[in-house]
Point group: D3
Chain length 336, copies 6
Amino acid sequence: MQKGPYIENIREKQPVEGLYLVRDKNNGITKNGKPYIALNLSDKTGMIKGRVWDNAEKLDPGFDQGDVVFLKSHSVLYQGDMQLNVHAINRIAAEDADLSDFMPASSVDPEQAFADLQASIATINDPHLRRLLELIFEDARIVAAFKQAPAAKSIHHDCLGGLIEHTLSVTRIADMLAGHYATVNRDLLLAGAMLHDIGKIYELSFERSFDYTDEGRLIGHIVLGMELISDTIRLVPDFPAQKALLIKHMILSHHGQLEFGSPKRPKIPEALLLSYIDDIDAKMFDFTQFIEKEQRPETNWTGYHRLFNRYLYTGALAEKELPVPGADNGKPPKDV
Amino acid sequence: MQKGPYIENIREKQPVEGLYLVRDKNNGITKNGKPYIALNLSDKTGMIKGRVWDNAEKLDPGFDQGDVVFLKSHSVLYQGDMQLNVHAINRIAAEDADLSDFMPASSVDPEQAFADLQASIATINDPHLRRLLELIFEDARIVAAFKQAPAAKSIHHDCLGGLIEHTLSVTRIADMLAGHYATVNRDLLLAGAMLHDIGKIYELSFERSFDYTDEGRLIGHIVLGMELISDTIRLVPDFPAQKALLIKHMILSHHGQLEFGSPKRPKIPEALLLSYIDDIDAKMFDFTQFIEKEQRPETNWTGYHRLFNRYLYTGALAEKELPVPGADNGKPPKDV
Amino acid sequence: MQKGPYIENIREKQPVEGLYLVRDKNNGITKNGKPYIALNLSDKTGMIKGRVWDNAEKLDPGFDQGDVVFLKSHSVLYQGDMQLNVHAINRIAAEDADLSDFMPASSVDPEQAFADLQASIATINDPHLRRLLELIFEDARIVAAFKQAPAAKSIHHDCLGGLIEHTLSVTRIADMLAGHYATVNRDLLLAGAMLHDIGKIYELSFERSFDYTDEGRLIGHIVLGMELISDTIRLVPDFPAQKALLIKHMILSHHGQLEFGSPKRPKIPEALLLSYIDDIDAKMFDFTQFIEKEQRPETNWTGYHRLFNRYLYTGALAEKELPVPGADNGKPPKDV
Amino acid sequence: MQKGPYIENIREKQPVEGLYLVRDKNNGITKNGKPYIALNLSDKTGMIKGRVWDNAEKLDPGFDQGDVVFLKSHSVLYQGDMQLNVHAINRIAAEDADLSDFMPASSVDPEQAFADLQASIATINDPHLRRLLELIFEDARIVAAFKQAPAAKSIHHDCLGGLIEHTLSVTRIADMLAGHYATVNRDLLLAGAMLHDIGKIYELSFERSFDYTDEGRLIGHIVLGMELISDTIRLVPDFPAQKALLIKHMILSHHGQLEFGSPKRPKIPEALLLSYIDDIDAKMFDFTQFIEKEQRPETNWTGYHRLFNRYLYTGALAEKELPVPGADNGKPPKDV
Amino acid sequence: MQKGPYIENIREKQPVEGLYLVRDKNNGITKNGKPYIALNLSDKTGMIKGRVWDNAEKLDPGFDQGDVVFLKSHSVLYQGDMQLNVHAINRIAAEDADLSDFMPASSVDPEQAFADLQASIATINDPHLRRLLELIFEDARIVAAFKQAPAAKSIHHDCLGGLIEHTLSVTRIADMLAGHYATVNRDLLLAGAMLHDIGKIYELSFERSFDYTDEGRLIGHIVLGMELISDTIRLVPDFPAQKALLIKHMILSHHGQLEFGSPKRPKIPEALLLSYIDDIDAKMFDFTQFIEKEQRPETNWTGYHRLFNRYLYTGALAEKELPVPGADNGKPPKDV
Amino acid sequence: MQKGPYIENIREKQPVEGLYLVRDKNNGITKNGKPYIALNLSDKTGMIKGRVWDNAEKLDPGFDQGDVVFLKSHSVLYQGDMQLNVHAINRIAAEDADLSDFMPASSVDPEQAFADLQASIATINDPHLRRLLELIFEDARIVAAFKQAPAAKSIHHDCLGGLIEHTLSVTRIADMLAGHYATVNRDLLLAGAMLHDIGKIYELSFERSFDYTDEGRLIGHIVLGMELISDTIRLVPDFPAQKALLIKHMILSHHGQLEFGSPKRPKIPEALLLSYIDDIDAKMFDFTQFIEKEQRPETNWTGYHRLFNRYLYTGALAEKELPVPGADNGKPPKDV
């Protein structure tokens, strides 16, 4: 069965038919005493409301929250929001659905990104740090999760593949700055960059929706990542004790401040740089994604951004794009 | 050779002879071009300045900073401070000095405190947590350090034996409150209480002076302690994964707030209680010790306490002590 | 007339008949121009929406906001919320309603709690502090309010009897810690514990709903309580001036920090302890009550707690309760 | 005996003879073993160091800290500070010293200021508030202290008469703004202005030096002032309860924010205005006094002001004064 | 065509006919598939919802968001809110509408306020500052905008004419305080007062609704105002450089603190005073307007004020107004 | 005459002769009544105390604070600090001193750095921004100051040439990140990078010592720089208004947060990046310079860094340098 039209493309008064993910399902009863079902449906492009007004009792047993369903409906605009009036709806077997259709995904190809990371590992001169990286990124279960995980539940890089996209971006900037600041230990900085968020593969669950695991909420990715590194270091012969302290310190301090969850603040230049780069990459992702999403013809400004606590200017982006040649290359002009 | 009079007892214009610890040593030269040596000398009751005005060049090679020395001197009052004018000074062999004479020590007997802790361990019903505690507190090297370590470099319980004194006090209060709040898991709370600061045996060095180790500054006692627990849990057969998460969470969250260095805030009642008890015991130690130290006949107030950012009232203590019968029982009237 | 089924027990599609409290009443008009009445109804177990769709104009004069009413209805589920479709509704005389049916109440028996407090007063050695406590807790009007008042409008112990429940709990912990810390003046600490929130009987109104009084908002329970103590001290012969200062300081400083409304921070150990105990008892109430209320089979986590600014773990409680024998002992399983 | 030259006027290498206040006295011993005495001496214009190098043991018993002494000395510049080498020094009888010579005093005449305040009281229309003011400002002991007290130990208006100077200034601005904002209750605002700091007569001690009393540190002037008002209100027949709440609220909230020690924040416009006016008058005093004191020919800037956390510009004042005609009118050019 | 009844006066079940401003317009579709239009309508007294249930498709093209419309309707109460059921609606030509009917306007006459400001300018003695003020307030485009602009988008003085009302109020208080504090340079303070918010004519757009301009969000009124002053100073012959620095500093520092958007904090007394006066006038406007708007018979308290983060007392105002004689003097009793 | 040995190289008990800058000069008098002179002397490598014990009255008129002097002395260690006992001292003519000997200077050659910046300007595609940059960096007076100015009075890059060193470093990182983030407008980001601190040439004075100018303290480099840009833009034909807003916004927002003195926070991605890069470069300078300066054999840790509020680890740097081949390339191993 086929995916229906992407939710971001659904317009008023059209028939809509195909596969969607049921995020929420609630049974209700109208004032006339007639049962109905209220739904939130999603795919990787967004979320839309659904209503089963007719045959609700008959259709009810055919699907549940969390199912991928095949449905038939038509779209209406209700109080400013698009909504699907659903006529038919039925779950499909889990194996018949391609999950990547239903969850937002990074625009970066995780296989290519992983190959790029491996190429970076090969440039590490320090034998202990390189071996540590190799051991971690040779573990099939780690790699599988690392390629699929988001970088966050709901802030930056909150999409499948977001973790590897962010990790690669941080690693590349780290490489640039290691070249710029001559006193910086490039091997230590790059190893820290590649491993800084590795604990997120344990902190987050990312099947059908993104959420925190128990480990994530009780221990957190900073300490989970450091434990993985501690355990792996024991497998590297003669890993010097001081070097082990320093790479662990890189992970522990990468949020930069205690109040952001780092139990230690950076005390070596490499850790200071890593905390800045991590912050820049997360903020730039949010900033540019929000500006892109909130482009509106009638204004130069986005709506209010709660985390940045401000309105962002969308006009600059528009201006800049004019002279970009070859933007009509068939894919969206911006990939961030 | 004998310890000299305790520094807190030295009065003006008396001869002072015996053993002291050289905390700082600086060579100087008077305006007349005559060399002298400026010292800070200490024993477990405090610190005093020393000056070698005569024969400085001859006496200089006989001792160094960090040495225990035998000296002969007389005391003078200089600009409000007591000071020793030193006539003779020479290091003694390290093995001839009883370190506990020269560093402040808890008023609590560490052997008794450790026996009390072991009695508490025996009351833990949960077999996995009890085994975890037994394994840690059976390790001779851990126990030796645990009995001697201070609880802090310079804030609360900054004395030899301070760590075990504080740990026992926290454990006892935890036991009281576990009885008071019926829904609290006593075993989890007491295990957390006994282990919460165990990482300090690695965070601090405490030979001749208290300081942070490299591990202490780069990793910190919270994560160091959690690592010890992680490693020990692997030695306990069938330790349930969830229980492991919870005891580790107790350690990680025991500073209560991110900005105090906990990478996670308490998310179970037992962790919330532990963070409060730890804070109470540290603050009560400081509060009462400062009030006791700053008793002055001419005023009801201590000097300014930098960390509490206030003056404390000393009058209440005085008033309270009047009716206490039997205070002359041979031991110091206050044990905190 | 009889109380109807408790709101927390009402299920879909059942007839509901009996007494409820009208918390809000709003008249509306449907799109068809038909008048209706929208209600919020409550009893001590919670709140439920009500709708009068038929005969609204006729039933309207028979009751008002704030009334206890006898109603007949049936329950429906509407947009995920339970709701009563009301057919008949009429106020009953105030004297026919037992207010404790309609407002949340502490699980602690106020008479027993008061007896326990009086027993504590009898253990106070200091004659002036004991006389002060006796005078306050002999005043019939104070005692009546003290037994009934909540401890807060909407945070911790926000139920009838909450003030005495919280006061007794704080007093008991104070007694434990007075035994633990030898330098603490037990009499002063316990007197402070028993009186710390006495001003809340003036700060809050608690008839049919909990709200602040004018005194509460303009003066506040800290100063109101201190004024009561000031006035009562004048009735105690020869109350020493210094002791009066100290007990007043205990009340003024019990929020611990200026920004929490204490005009003075603790400057004696007893005041420091009281501020901690008060905070612990309030936070433990919230923490455990929220975890209990938010137990859900599909997750180990509560929803987001706005004041604690976090999610709490419910799994620990579940685990812990399994092995508790004899929980079916006829009283509520948790007393906090 | 006569006051010696004012300390602010003492220049290098001059004989200095007359009366001074001994603020601190410490006995010392030189490197040659000769005893000496180190002093801090003050009068209302400032502080100066004194040293008794000769005859220290003989002169020692003749005076103590806190005494007014008659001394003979000559001035020297030592390490950038002026210092008196004292040859003779002896206490004089307390009744022979005019305290106002030795402590900084407001440039405002307290008698005139009090007359001005009484004139303001007479303009209050509200009979209860006017009676309250009259009763307080008819009490001889209150009035005597009120005319002499400083407004602070060491920040703004920290001089004898500073309290009445500040109170009058706040009252006058309150009067202006009551005229400007038509909805403001002038009587309430002015009563609040006149009474807002009355508690400082109990909070501070101001004999020979300024310090906090026990009441000041344990209760504070805000609550002490409110208690005086509470007690006096009972003496005013038929004082309306609501009005009593409001005038007490004016006092309690006059620091504007909880973190500045007000247990309640302003909830009526009059209280909001009072908190602003109090703050303006204190800050303007500090700002202008500091600029005046720190006028230096070589720069347009004061030294660093710790409380304002900035450097202030002194050039504006200089510029402004040039064109002011008739500044030589016999009174000090600045009255702040 | 005529303005309809003011929105604040519309009561339930009355016919409503006349001119209103369409603030928002959204098309919807009922569950029965019938199109309707949801509106927000406003005039200078407030906002009301409108619904076009019948003939929505026919009436839809006749008006748009932002239009002034002539409508016919009747009022109903729906879920506690008043609402207009609209039968007929059509835009009118922009030139037929008097904008001041549809946007909130200051109660102060802008022409009178401007005349008052000009009178103040004439009292400035300093020739350069006076000329600067004259040049700015002689520019016809500036003056036109200055008379019409609000002082804020949505906080204080958010009404047509609000800027000049606030500027005049600040100037008057500045004049009072310049008289009170003898060392203050009156000319500098008054010039600062009159110019402090002049940049708001560029920061805000105020046609049909209040919003920020691009300049407003990217540069801000503080710097925009300073730039206007910089440019105008070049037109004043021989304007002294130091005086230019000081008047620019007055503008730059008038928010008092960096975190409120001032790039410099006050460093002269005049700037300190201006920052206080600006703050007082804004807060007093909000405070008194909110209290006035939230007068409700059943309570002495307003609802929660989000910015002040508190409830305000309305009882004081009521009490105060009773004895005010001659309030019926033909103008609104409150001018704020 | 010749510069004496660099201050950082002076060791105990050596003769020291040559040119130094007199930073402070104070006359004193010993206890024996003998006059002396206390000096602070500096060159570009640091500061040292000087004392004229003999012939002070004779030598006194020969030099003043701020002079470059030729002196003869010998070095002694006094209370842990090195000090020069001065026998002869005399000012030299200003033109005989090379100021760069006496003030710390960047290790970067300002001419080379300026050439690099000009090369960057040539890569700007946007004609208006490029013209703006050309006009500013063609102005001889601006360029002269820009090459010499420090970047701060006392924090990062506080050395002659520090401004151009920092500006070039920020520009290079900006170029890297413009390549990394595809949606970023490179021209706008680089123009912002090159101009962000240009106002510092007016904010700071840097002759013989670094200090703030009146403009610096009253207006600040952010607004001073923006004014220069505003004025220069008027000289560029047809500079688009929107582009002018954006480049001005880049300058105004480059401190990132209001509390750091930016009157606007970044609202475009380019401004966000610039604020991060500026912060990174300043912090990396401080971090690495402090670690380098505080290398001590006996510890892996620096002293306490007041601004970073922590101790930094020096061990990593040492470790890193060991394996770096070719470090003996004739230039200092670290260029930051």
